[in-house]
Symmetry: C2
Subunit: 300 residues, 2 copies
Amino acid sequence: MRLRNIELFHAVLTTGSITAAAKLLNISQPAASKALQHAEDNLGFALFSRVGGRLQPTQQALLLRDRIEKIIQDIHDLQRLTTNMGQPNSCPLRVTCTPTLALTLLPAATVLLRKSFPNVTAELSTQHSAEMCESLTLRENDIGLTLQDTGHQTLRQRELCRGQVMVIAPPGSWQGAELTQSFPVGALASQTMIGITVRDALGSMLQSHLSKVEPAPKIAVSVQTYQLARSLVANGEGFALVDPFTARGGDAKSVQMRPLKPHLDVVLYAMHRPDSPLNPVQKRFLDIIRQLAQRMLAQR
Amino acid sequence: MRLRNIELFHAVLTTGSITAAAKLLNISQPAASKALQHAEDNLGFALFSRVGGRLQPTQQALLLRDRIEKIIQDIHDLQRLTTNMGQPNSCPLRVTCTPTLALTLLPAATVLLRKSFPNVTAELSTQHSAEMCESLTLRENDIGLTLQDTGHQTLRQRELCRGQVMVIAPPGSWQGAELTQSFPVGALASQTMIGITVRDALGSMLQSHLSKVEPAPKIAVSVQTYQLARSLVANGEGFALVDPFTARGGDAKSVQMRPLKPHLDVVLYAMHRPDSPLNPVQKRFLDIIRQLAQRMLAQR
DNA sequence: CACGTGGCATAACTCAGGGTTGTGGGACGC
DNA sequence: GCGTCCCACAACCCTGAGTTATGCCACGTG
């Protein structure tokens, strides 16, 4: 079974027809047809039963499916890695961050960086933590920013700064002295809230805290990204628990915020590969991020 | 990077020279040389630096190494699987068992089976538990016999019978009524014993039991298979803790045995793939194994 | 130093396999 | 009955992986 056959088999399996698979691989339909037969000849058993001019995977084909997909995935990853190793440091700063940080820290930091290095080019992207790790090891990006401790063993993960989980509320919810104090978690009882269903460490921490409140808060809308929660809060849909960066992101007047009590720490991490030391641009960038984050978290 | 290139790269990496790699892949040296250059051209960076007419892997090559090896392994496994799927049920009974059971249960059971099915052919082999699981899923074998609970999620593992951990000793160590009683674990204190360094569940259980005995038994010789322990005991090297099958295997007079007290259960499992139901021969074989094992464990 | 040796690269050639276009035929919907 | 969709077959083409023959370089050795 040559690699080409494996790819073809996979393509046919996913698309369901030889014609579509051929289109996917950019070859002609007869080529695909012939190759598939060739593969079956080599294997000694049929991968698809031709019934009524259509293809139907055999029992054996389904048994091979998982293995094949894994190999395809690995090969694909290898390609990604090698292509990225081909152009070493084509771009001095390739950063990826979680969606949470995309609208607050990242753009501001990039603008500041370009004041120090006017000619520098940068590539920015957003990814969730799991993809972030993949992307870093495959050298598609050099720096990752996240609020989650991934526990990745080969990637370096260093703490940049820490803040607290915040309660955000529609404008006018709190007044005067209230605004300068922490918000006791018990006061969330029976409150209308936006649910957080993010599957990372912070998300599950927030969920477990909410579930302990008695009587339970009323949750009508649940969201998967903190930004959405903030928008909903700004529109008066209720309170929400969010990370301190989302709380301060966007228009300052659109929501009110107070730290949750008891304090729940949120840590901003930078991740990078351990092998290649950071270049000056990248170091400066992380400096800027740290300063920016600290300043942002200091202000109310 | 074509699969052929990956194989070649791997071969060069392991053998250390193009010539040797070419021999390994059964191609000529120039073919390998050209292919490697081709690969490097495609990749855009060098995999090996030619220094003094010899090859030396570059930094990048080492980064790719693990990934490449994994892919090679997976492809190889796939080949194994497909070749075994090609000849479905060429042999009605392909059994693999741990070395522990190889000399006691398996031969006897096979002989008995061939009295019921004189024309049947069988393939027997021994493997450790991890390889056993691999071999079963890759369809190189249909039935596996082991004393360990592998916790494998896709393979069926069913209990055939259970016995107890036995203490074996050189002939003449015990006399009269002693021989019919259990052997209290405390009596192992300061005794000369054969150490067991098997890394499976049973092995670590035995080790932890031995380590609790005060004062510690004297362990001069450690072995990785129970058979070896039995041979050493038979030669008067000391006592040993072994599974009940090893205890009863071989010449009955060569060692004495008594169950350990407190009892430590040892379970005989049969493993097979869940998809293909067992054929009559295989069912009969498992019946014979069970009967044989129970009879063996009943006798002293 | 001259020489043999071991290892890689180059050159010229062969050939099979993977690709193409063109065509035919069966199953299905209308 | 006809158009459509999809697969298989045929004839042809051409790239690329393989071959043998040979040269070059570095190194060890008498």
